[in-house]
Amino acid sequence: MGCSRKDEGRTYAIVTKSAQNEYNDLIVQGFKEVIEEEGGSCLVEQPESATAESQIRIVEELIQREVDAIAIAANDSDGLEKVLAEAMEKGIQVSTFDSDSNAKSRKVFVNQALEEEVGKVLMEAVYDMAEQEGQWAILSSTSQAANQNVWINAMKAEVEKEKYRDMRLVDIVYGNDDYEVSVKAAEKLLKEHPDLKVICSPTAVGIKAACQVVSQAADREVKVTGLGIPSDIAEYVGNQEEGKPCPYLYLWNPREMGRLSAYVSLNLVDGTISGEVGETFTTAHNEEFVITQSTNKGSQVVLGEPLYIGPDNIAYWKEKL
């Protein structure tokens, strides 16, 4: 239930995809808040690189420290299976958030928004910005990132619709969620595809890099959209005439996602839920959540819907996120 649990002595760990990432930091904030509210202790781990290997190392350490729960944003959907299964065997409650592993590796996935919806809104944004036809490209994080691939697939599903017939997806490049690498990737896109109209970057680091590169490319009229942090991206959001490369983008509240993930961990540890489809739980603010089935045949809890962030509300959101 919502009131303080007797969680003293319990440790809840959160493992993000990588360090030095504003988006990840916001999630951690929300997670930590809730855990500490409920009296537990929170352990934050951010790997130095967005690889499966670094997360494996971290999870092994957490197993050694006998934490009660691990919430992790998976860098690879299959690569963490071994180590997460080991953690669950040892009695640790494993859940994922933001980027899912395969169904065998976790009890439940905290999903920011349904993939189909993310794919739809992004695709429609691209379509809109390209004015119904033309070349577009994707600037992603890593080729193995679970959430990226899931959204790319969702976009691919959406783009099969007839109306997108004149859209040409010409490239998918990877910035590894590293700002410098992302910048180089964006520059490469512009160079290799002179007719490129839109860059879609479903990652906060990527979208920012793309915006920077585009705004510096004076002779090009390329638009950028994707998923980004309002405070981070605010300077680039606006109209073409103002020289802003990003007309609008999407997100959700990462802090809320962190909070939801914390509730999931808490409820798993105290046994309120076990990760089965149909189970419900309530947060401290009396919001009820239902566990549904995820696309990979596991279970998930969905935070909400993608959030539109455009020039009309950027001022509001950049204060919050």
Partner: protein, 635 residues
């Protein structure tokens, strides 16, 4: 440091039992070379194991990549055979000329369709599509429900593969799942080879031929590349997009981008190590020819080292078995040697308790130990013989001495002497009687003395002088005794009662056989080397040759018993000193007899045969008595 080592060595060489010693030496001979070889080889051995494994992995990689190449080439081949076919060229030859399309024989297209269908084997090639440009809508009439090969291109224009092909000059594309639409993945196949069918030079694309093939098949081939536990093989394309993997979980763990791998390994099929968690990974890549695909092989070093360790343990195990065998062999070999030596030693130790016994060997052996046993037995026999001989000699000596003693207590001499004394007494010749009694007393004192077995020459001469004196009293001074012994010989030892039997014999069988019944006896002596020789000569009747021959052998008659005495004396001397000593008789009939007595000067051995010892210094001849001087004459 050296001290204890020296101690150990000394213990080993001098004191350690033979069996242990031999076993140790055997083991040392076996173990030391083994250890040296092992140490020498260990490091190279380990490297060899690793290199061996890597080499076999490399070979396997080559094979696998060749298989992959051949496999995916089938898809390319299928596409190209369609591309090159007559109908394709006829159909898609010119731009949007409907009449051309209409004019192509329907039957031809049906056959065309059938041919294409036939290429779909369901195993590798899962589906084929021809995406035709707008003018070719007629083609869709030829589709059969289950497999609608001919599809309008506009359906696929928003796909990634079309985006790539439409903006690049590539004529064909190997497509990972990322390039395909979700519908294609779901309905046609997870991988594809897509080639364009251009209208003509730079005039756009009339169609695209897409040959879809099975990812599972590719993953099966990759799995064949896996010989080592926890290793993985996966395929990346030039853009580091994952195409297929032998094991999704392991690949996810090990995933390394193509550029990084190329950077590390430098060349194709070159395995190098990269750190991964607590161990290392062996990475290598292989180009899959005729495509932009690369096969990456990843082998964890822990597994390689594990195999290496297993091999080393097997080697150590074998080594241990060899050492144990060596120990057993050494132990048994040394046992066979030591057993027999120990038997000899044990037998020899019995000597402390009993007489030496022969070793009864189970079988005769020819080696040194056999020789030892043989020699030991011979020695034992010799010792036993000697001991028996000694016993016999001692026995005989006792007997002869006893006999000599008995002879001394010859009653005849005593009766005659007492008679003589009585006669003197009867005649009232008191001095004569007293003299005789004194002489007799002294004589028997010397004769019966329990003291030394050997006496000095002085004592013996006194003894024999007394005898002659007593005989002279009886025989009326008819015997003249002349003694001529050098003074320095008077202290020499001689066994008791040696001269007397000879002198007795000389008197009774020599002189008293003469008609005149009188004669001379001369006793002389001299040294010959280390021997002492005494000569007792008489001028009696002498002996005939026959008698001479028999006198020292104890045969023949003896009328008076003195012959036995002579023989006895001779035997005694021989027993004491050896065959070369004793008496020698020379005689000339009617002239006399010479008796030579030869003894060695030492004479002290004599004592060993007797258990009695004399300490009474009052009697002459006992130890410490000085020799008498000068010649003695007795009447």
């Amino acid at each position: 440091m050296i001290g204890p080592f020296r101690k150990m060595t000394k213990y080993y060489t001098d004191d350690m039992g033979l069996r242990k010693k031999l076993t140790i030496s055997h083991l040392v001979v076996v173990i030391i070379p083994l250890i040296l070889v092992s140490i020498f080889l260990y490091s190279s051995f380990y490297d060899m194991v690793i290199k061996n494994m890597i080499a076999s992995e490399q070979t396997l990689s080559v094979q696998t990549s060749d298989t992959l190449k051949a496999t995916i080439s089938q898809a390319a081949y299928a596409a190209n055979s369609i591309l090159d076919s007559q109908v394709t060229r006829e159909l898609f030859g010119e731009e949007g000329d409907l009449s051309v399309v209409e004019s192509v024989d329907g039957q031809k297209i049906v056959n065309y369709y059938q041919t294409i269908l036939a290429m779909i084997d369901g195993e590798l090639i899962t589906d084929i599509r021809i995406y035709y440009d707008a003018p070719y809508t007629r083609l869709s009439d030829f589709n059969m429900l289950e497999t609608p090969v001919f599809q309008p291109l506009e359906k696929m224009t928003s796909s990634y593969w079309y985006g790539i092909l439409s903006t690049t000059a590539d004529s064909a594309l190997f497509c990972p799942s990322l390039y395909l639409s979700l519908t294609e993945i779901r309905e046609n196949g997870e991988l594809a080879y897509i080639t364009r069918v251009p209208y003509g030079e730079g005039k756009g694309d009339a169609a695209f031929i897409a040959v879809y093939f099975s990812k599972d098949k590719i993953q099966n081939i990759l799995s064949q590349n896996i010989t080592v536990n926890d290793s993985a093989a996966y395929i990346l394309n030039e853009k580091s997009t994952l195409i297929a993997a032998s094991d999704a979980a392991l690949t996810g763990e090990y995933f390394t981008e193509l550029d990084r791998i190329k950077e590390l390994t430098q060349t194709e099929n070159n395995f190098v190590t990269a750190p991964f968690l607590e161990q290392k990974l062996y990475l290598g890549y292989h180009v899959i020819d005729n495509s932009d695909w690369y096969m990456i092989s990843v082998i964890p070093s822990s597994t390689v080292m594990q195999k290496g360790k297993v091999l080393i343990f097997e080697f150590l195990g074998l080594y241990l078995v060899v050492v144990i065998l060596a120990f057993i062999v050494a132990y048994r070999l040394s046992g066979s040697i030591v057993k027999r030596i120990s038997a000899v030693v044990k037998q020899m130790q019995k000597v402390k308790l009993n007489r030496p016994e022969r070793i009864q060997a189970v079988q005769e052996t020819q080696d040194e130990i056999g020789g030892l046993v043989h020699t030991y037995n011979y020695m034992t026999d010799e010792i036993n013989t000697l001991m028996e001989q000694q016993e016999r000699t001692a026995k005989e000596l006792r007997l002869t001495e006893f006999a000599a003693l008995q002879a001394q207590i010859n009653p005849h001499f005593l009766y005659n002497s007492l008679d003589m004394i009585n006669w003197h007494t009867q005649k009232g010749e008191k001095e004569e009687a007293a003299k005789a009694i004194q002489a007799l007393s002294k004589f028997y004192k010397l004769t019966l003395s329990k003291k030394n077995a050997a006496v000095t020459m002085a004592v013996e001469l006194e003894h024999v002088s007394l005898y002659v004196e007593l005989q002279n009293m009886r025989y009326d001074d008819k015997i003249e005794l002349l003694i001529d012994i050098p003074p320095d010989m008077l202290g020499c030892m001689i066994p008791r009662l040696t001269f007397q039997p000879i002198v007795e014999n000389a008197i009774l069988h020599g002189i008293m056989r003469k008609p005149e019944k009188e004669g001379n006896i001369v006793i002389t002596g001299w040294r010959e080397g280390t021997d002492l020789v005494y000569l007792i000569s008489d001028d009696g009747v002498g002996m005939e040759q026959e008698v001479l021959n028999q006198i020292l052998t104890g045969e023949g008659k003896s009328s008076k018993g003195t012959r036995i005495g002579v023989y006895n004396t001779h035997r005694r001397l021989q027993l004491l000193y050896g065959e070369s000593y004793g008496l020698t008789y020379e005689s000339t009939v009617h002239q006399g007899t010479d008796v030579y007595i030869r003894i060695p000067e030492m004479g002290a051995d004599y004592e060993e045969y007797h258990t009695m010892e004399s300490t009474d210094s009052s009697l002459p001849g006992s130890s410490g008595d000085a020799a008498d001087n000068g010649m003695q004459q007795e009447r």
